[in-house]
Symmetry: C2
Subunit: 332 residues, 2 copies
């Protein structure tokens, strides 16, 4: 099964024939996975071994404009800078756009404004491909349900499947070979007192992309099979914690899941380690604060930065220990 087969099944030909308006425009938030996506059962279609669950950051993400233009190739502008066509970033976007060209002569102008550090483990490709998918929907006025848009966004980047909504979002791994059952959906639950803060140590590009790192983990970690079971178990626990608003279970499950993912990477060969010394120092500090009674947990993606999880009642205490953070209320 190819990506183009999936697009064909979702989008009848007449819906791709011409734009409904001059420009498509859409915003998609970045998301932080609380139960992680790590490892693909199908690398062509970005189908995950496990289901995952994320929280959106309401005001951080990507705003994308898209229109057809007369040029000989696509043009991609990120935060005002044109991206060279020999970069990995350009190639991934152009390859995604290939799925939606009715004629090969069609070329797109893409203008992406992101207000998050690019490639620092803050899921820039998730909000990037999600906003591009939504902007294309806007341009062509596709009459698609969000479930189908989630499948299309996934073809660009796995975690983009989760970036179409605010709040808690679950991406079902699905089981079918064509991935038509592998899409995300929002949870109805909210948690108004929940806070998130990004504890950043580096905005440098990662030494290894998450795309490469997860495949290297699947191929070389002896612990991977156990990780799959752990993630499945964590998803059930996290949904229970959200349903009952049990914060220690919520934070503990998210932190344990993140540490298990990084453990699985560390067990790969060659070893994969996104921790910097500063990351580790902050982890030790968080564990020590927690021992002193502060309900503070963290998660970490494929990058050195930590994302802190806490409740509004503890926001000022957390801010006192980490003055550099901006406290984000995710349900406001």
């Amino acid at each position: 099964v190819k990506k183009s087969d999936v697009v064909r099944a979702i989008l009848p030909l007449h819906l791709r024939k011409e734009p409904a308006q001059a420009q498509g425009l859409a915003f998609a938030p970045t998301n932080i996975a609380l139960v992680k996506y790590w490892g693909k059962r199908n690398t062509e279609l970005n189908l995950a071994y496990t289901s995952s669950l994320s929280i959106a950051l309401p005001d951080q993400g990507a705003l994308t404009k898209v229109n057809l233009h007369e040029g000989k190739q696509d043009q991609v502008v990120l935060n005002g800078n044109e991206i060279a066509n020999n970069t990995e970033f350009f190639k991934r976007i152009a390859e995604f756009l290939n799925l939606f060209r009715f004629q090969s002569a069609w070329h797109f102008n893409i203008d992406i404004q992101m207000n998050i550090p690019v490639a620092a483990g803050l899921a820039s490709s998730a909000c990037g491909f999600a906003s591009l998918t939504l902007a294309l929907k806007d341009l062509f006025a596709w009459p698609l349900r969000f479930q189908e848009l989630s499948i299309l966004a996934r073809l660009g980047s796995g975690s983009a499947a989760r970036s179409l909504w605010q709040g808690f979002v679950e991406w079902h791994s699905g089981a079918s070979a064509d991935g038509m059952d592998s899409y995300a959906e929002p949870l109805t639950a909210t948690w108004p007192s929940l806070c998130v803060a990004i504890l950043a140590f580096s905005d440098q590009a990662k030494p290894i992309s998450s795309r490469e790192a997860m495949q290297a983990t699947v191929n070389s970690s002896a612990l991977y099979q156990c990780w799959v079971q752990k993630a499945t178990h964590d998803l059930a626990l996290l949904k229970q914690a959200i349903h009952n608003q049990q914060f220690p279970l919520f934070g503990g499950t998210a932190e344990s899941n993140a540490l298990n993912m990084h453990a699985t990477m560390l067990s790969s060969w060659p070893p994969i380690c996104y921790f910097l010394p500063a990351t580790l120092a902050a982890m030790h500090e968080i564990w020590s604060l927690r021992q002193q009674g502060l309900e503070l947990y963290f998660t970490e993606d494929a990058g050195p930065n930590l994302k802190l999880l806490f409740l509004e009642k503890d926001a000022s205490a957390v801010k006192q220990h980490f003055p550099q953070i901006e406290v984000l209320r995710v349900f406001e």
Copy 2:
């Protein structure tokens, strides 16, 4: 099965009735596990889930003197300082000595000289209990084979089973409930050009003892079952590497095994992490040096220090990058 049952099976009563001389004296080297022991299938008898393989550090270890004395309780002196009888260290030694008291009125004087930092992940309990076992053998003139002495040393500390020999030593996990098949044996192979160096970051006592940490890992890590399989696989690989003197396979297997053990700890809840920021900085440096072609690997035990593994040909290059180390030739 109790420890005392094992002692009874190995040592007939008449062999424990009286000392053969006034004092027993013995040295045992510390050992560095290259395939780790992490997790007990039986905590009373210190029976491991997996077999392990270590290398002895020839000149570092414990020299122990033991004699019976008239006092009302045991006396333990470590590096010239008397150990208080309410410490964990004293209690573990007194409990071990209980196994060898012919009459309850018997008390021992134990004098241990260790030339390694105590409780900093350098297997002080391994060489401590191994030397104490050998010193008792000397005192009583037990006509035991080393295999039986290894079983007795194990009752004090699991890794002590491996500290009775120089060079490479394999501890068979065994399968029987009484552990009579769980003892160590030396490998015949040597590797004269093999070098080891300790890269120390802290000689402070560990935040959590390896004894507690391994049990917490067994009880709470979702990755533990996969670790058991990994360790079993690594043991076969390492023996092959030693047999064929294939250094990258040797170093790579040892490093991967250590990282998998630490990964399994990190996946426990609450998380267990012996890495300090300085440990992690050194790991990143070693990975970077290796990418540049230097055949340098590391292993790490339940502490923040790294043990570097390299060949004599690279000793000066390694020393240039880590000037603080002392290069140890383990087969000299």
